[in-house]
């Protein structure tokens, strides 16, 4: 049967260190070398001070569920076989928020505020997607 691939992230100059981190099993975010502001998603300048000087910092990978939804009618056909599936927004300990899927957890058990930790799902040689699971 015809199988449509899921859309994968296009890796660019700004985001390459992030995806290199996920391949190695760690979450990273840019930290402004001048003002210390931590930012995600990656960008060439700091939104606080416009500095281009950046270092990448390893994050704890721990956080809590800020929001979650259960998709029943996906807007892309490649996700049809997955329904219903969850998408969550995680608030990381460091204050950043990111989209993800919560794995190893039934949809009924999802709660705002639930503690979670990152796990890493290898999709192909280039892309490893960070996902999250309930931290017990």
């Amino acid at each position: 049967m015809f199988q449509l691939d899921k859309p994968m992230p296009g890796i660019n100059e700004d985001s390459a260190p992030y995806w290199e981190g996920t391949r190695q099993g760690e979450l990273r975010a840019q930290c402004c070398s001048d003002c210390g502001h931590l930012r995600f998603p990656p960008a060439i300048v700091c939104p606080k001070c416009l500095s281009e000087n950046t270092t990448w910092r390893r994050l704890s990978g721990r956080g809590t569920v800020y929001s979650f939804i259960i998709v029943h009618r996906p807007q892309h056909p490649a996700f049809l076989d997955d329904v219903p599936y969850n998408v969550a927004i995680i608030e990381l300990e460091e204050g950043l928020r990111m989209h993800t899927n919560i794995v190893d957890c039934s949809d009924e058990d999802l709660r705002i505020g639930m503690p979670v930790e990152a796990v890493f799902e290898k999709i192909n040689d280039e892309v490893t997607l960070p996902k999250f699971r309930h931290a017990r």
């Binding site: 859309p7 985001s15 998603p41 259960i70 029943h72 989209h99």
Partner: protein, 388 residues
């Protein structure tokens, strides 16, 4: 946000003409076709000659891909040779942004009469674009405005105690208004039970929480108040307007009122009115949680009261705040906000199918942007119209 005193622009311009194309499901009509049809109707409605138009602003849907000079091409197809022409894109926030821009162009003396228009054909192309900034959400199946608004709904439920039934009350009210609008795409009245039985799209959103998909277009003509006085239609003055751009709507409650509040504050200040003076409002209603959000952000009710406010029927034509009296995006059709502008004008003219008796102050809102980004970047626009 710095807020300029825009009183100098208040009531200097008017919306002299409105026009909507055929809308609904019209697969054979092009985006250009809809824009031209709507524009022609707006020109006729205003009773002006085509040659008096010297400014053309056109909303271009991102569905259309790269289309250089789109506004100039719409002008060319209309046989108009404008002295100012611009393609604009803030999604559903654009029509009001155009009215603002037109008011500035007229005030600056660059134009006398500005056509604002739009047309969209939603032909599915099968190719899914990886839009800039989407790579941290789409791989997880979080795609587009629906999932984004589902997150907003989830947070409202968590923070405000809003229920799915209260979202349903919004959908039911707007459908009741659409039932009186012969042009509306969905006219069959619905009940709360219908809402609760409609399929879940992205929990907590059901199908009846989501806007329609519409092929069609819309337009309006903005000119100076002085010129508008001599034209065919009753004078509808542009009394106030404002914009706000936010990259963080999923934190809408941090300031107690939420994203967009500054847009309304600027419009109220310019028009010299407050939320209590608004007799009828057309709220940009892509999804029911957005309506809930706007009611709080624009000062119509307190955060904790939004759910009961809508459940008590206040948005109905006979309620305390008649809203979306043509049916809105949820039931009339999705014309990216041009349907809202047209209905806000009709309320002042006294020609709505769901007329609020004696309406002299009418508000209309817009909302749009890039919901696929994480965090999303969105624009809020507000305009206040007044009877001349």
């Amino acid at each position: 946000m710095r807020m300029a005193d825009l009183k100098v622009l208040s009531e200097q311009t008017a919306i002299a003409g409105i026009g909507l194309s055929r809308f609904g499901k019209f697969p054979g009509v092009s985006s250009m076709g809809f824009a031209l049809e709507a524009s022609k109707r707006a020109i006729e409605d205003a009773g002006i000659t085509r040659d008096s138009i010297d400014g053309v602003l056109v909303l271009m849907s991102p569905l259309m891909g790269e289309q250089h000079g789109w506004a100039s091409r719409v002008a060319a197809y209309l046989g108009v040779t404008p002295s100012f022409c611009s393609t604009m894109d803030m999604g559903g926030a654009t029509p009001i942004g155009m009215i603002q821009t037109a008011a500035m162009l007229i005030h600056a003396g660059m134009c006398t009469t500005v056509l604002c228009t739009f047309g969209c054909q939603n032909s599915p192309k099968g190719v899914f674009p990886m839009l800039f900034g989407s790579e941290f959400a789409i791989p997880y199946g979080d795609i587009g405005a629906i999932t984004f608004m589902a997150h907003v709904g989830r947070r409202q439920m968590h923070e405000l105690g809003v229920t799915s039934e209260q979202y349903g009350a919004i959908a039911v009210a707007f459908r009741a208004h659409a039932a009186k609008n012969p042009d509306a795409q969905k006219r069959e009245p619905i009940t709360l039970e219908d809402h609760q039985r409609s399929p879940v799209i992205a929990d907590p959103l059901r199908r009846l929480d989501c806007c329609l998909i519409t092929d069609g277009g819309g337009a309006c003509i903005v000119t100076s108040a002085e010129r508008a006085r001599d034209l065919r239609q009753p004078l509808v003055l542009v009394s106030g307007f404002g914009q706000m751009h936010s990259a963080e709507i999923i934190r809408p409650w941090d300031n107690g009122r939420g994203g967009g509040a500054e847009a309304a504050e600027a419009a109220y200040k310019m028009a010299g009115v407050g939320p209590k003076d608004i007799q009828v409002v057309q709220l940009y209603d892509g999804f029911t949680p957005l309506v809930m959000h706007e009611l709080v952000a624009y000062g119509f009710c307190k955060a904790g009261e939004a759910g009961s406010f809508v459940a008590d029927g206040n948005l109905l034509c006979e309620g305390a705040l008649p809203a979306n009296t043509a049916g809105g995006l949820l039931s009339e059709g999705h014309l990216s906000g041009f349907g809202h502008v047209a209905e806000a004008v009709r309320q002042i003219r006294g020609t709505s199918y769901c007329q609020v008796p004696g309406a002299e102050i009418s508000m209309v809102t817009g909302y749009g942007g890039a919901p696929h980004e994480a965090p999303p970047t969105v624009a809020y626009t507000v305009a206040i119209l007044r009877c001349g």
